[in-house]
Amino acid sequence: MTDTEHQEELEYLMNHYGDEIMRFCTLQLKDTFQAEDAAQDTFIKAWKALDTFRNESSKKTWLIRIAVNTCRDYQRTGWFRHMDRRITPENLPEKAQEVHFPDGEVSGAISSLPAKLRMVILLRYYEGFTVQETAETAGVSVATAKRQIRKANQLLRKKLEGWYYDE
């Protein structure tokens, strides 16, 4: 790939997947400023690795996998420890009375999940990955991914009772 082709591909990735990567990183890191850094890092890493992309997965799947690893790195840094956040159950938003929620309720509920469960639920339901893809991207076995998805579903069902149902 030439430098010009690298540049064009980077522009394509940022234009098509920028919003989605930003939102994924925001939900995973629970901090918009950190998410901005992580999303930028994701595209830089993608640009560096463009020559190794072999079309064995979709570009989106490939990018999300880079974003997952980038977010993990951010979660391990000292600064992230400073920014680490947890929503205590008693401070979750009030349960809604009908299938209409104030802004932030679903993202708040997902943000309150433990990091590993948040990761698999975002990959499975937000990014539309298969269980196999979710397992590979999260770096766990298919059985573990299924167990984590089931556990995340149980927790989300409690938090979003009233509109949550199994597939």
Binding site: G18, M22, E36, I44, G128
Partner: protein, 319 residues
């Protein structure tokens, strides 16, 4: 719920979070410079740590051009090993859209008085918001004044003892609010909005304390105490070069203590983890999602250029 419900709902809730032109510009610029993201929120303490890590990386890995690292949890166990192979870089031109707005935002934040939370934001072409912010902190150069400021606070641990010859060179305490923020001023300069917030004394939550101690020969001790929401000692505590190792040590009152055994003469590093007596709740500024969050533990990073681990342990061992 199915995946369509969740995706559409999340996209709606997060519609103000978008990839801005400024983000694209930042990526182009960093790619042009070799591909390292400049973090926006670096406190002085972390600048010091990062500078140290850069020196370490440069010295230790210049020959091999491969960065091997391990991730260590609070028990001192390796939880992951990985390696980074530097990639060749190419030149990509950097457009300058939004650069003027960003400069205005930076100038406005810089000109605001100390001791406030300051945010300057501007709309990006995709309908989102970009901006610059500065956290709320107070600075000290007197040990007595610092002790006085923390006298009613039991969440941040100060050293019980300071080695002979060392004195406080600089200290910085950062705050959040446990309840709400007062808008001091909101003003517009072009399309940049500046917001300045204050926090009532009774609502202040100290969430970070950084200390820089030095002796007359500039031998240095850096101590960063931060509050964290995590509650799991299996969580990663630190990433270190793979040829370093850690040792679990004991410090009274601390849940975990790990010492880094590094290669080369780069000083001593000790990490402490202490559980708080009860969660400390806090909220973010009104322009952020209205989540109530809680700190559950204190993490203390101690690095000294010329002291051994035993001395650092003693510093945090009450009489």
């Amino acid at each position: 719920m199915n995946e369509n419900d969740l995706k559409s709902r999340l996209d709606a809730e997060l519609s103000n979070i978008t990839w801005s032109v400024r983000n694209s510009n930042a990526v182009r610029q960093q790619v042009n410079q070799g591909g390292t993201v400049m973090k926006k929120k670096l406190s002085i303490s972390f600048i010091g740590v990062i500078a140290l890590l850069l020196v370490l990386a440069a010295v230790a890995y210049a020959a091999t051009e491969v960065y091997h690292r391990i991730s260590i949890n609070w028990k001192g166990e390796t939880v992951e090993e990985s390696e980074i192979v530097p990639q060749p870089t190419a030149k990509i031109p950097v457009p300058t859209e939004e650069a003027d707005l960003h400069q205005i935002a930076e100038r406005l934040v810089e000109s605001a008085p100390e001791g406030e939370i300051v945010k300057a934001s501007y709309p990006d072409p995709e309908g989102g918001q970009s901006g610059v912010r500065r956290s709320f902190c107070q600075k000290y150069t007197s040990w007595e004044e610092l002790q006085q400021a923390l006298s009613k606070n039991s969440d941040i641990t100060l050293p019980a003892w300071i080695p002979d010859g060392y004195h406080l060179q600089y200290a910085e305490i950062s705050f959040k609010s446990k309840n709400d923020y007062h808008l001091i001023e909101e003003k517009q300069e072009g399309s940049v909005t500046l917001r300045r917030y204050s926090v009532d004394d009774e609502n202040k939550v100290i969430d970070e304390c950084y200390l820089l101690l030095q002796d007359d020969e500039k031998h240095t001790i850096s101590i960063t105490s931060t509050l964290s929401g995590s509650t799991d000692s299996n969580n990663s505590a630190i990433n270190i070069p793979a040829d370093n190792s850690v040792t679990s040590v004991t410090v009274p009152g601390m849940e975990n203590a790990i010492a880094i055994n590094s290669t080369g003469n780069i000083g001593s590093t000790l990490y402490l983890r202490r559980l708080l007596d009860s969660p400390i709740k806090w909220v973010d500024t009104p322009d952020m999602p209205a989540f109530v969050m809680a700190y559950n533990e204190e993490h203390i990073d101690i690095w000294a250029t010329d002291l051994d681990i035993e001395t650092l342990q003693k510093m945090f061992t009450p009489d």
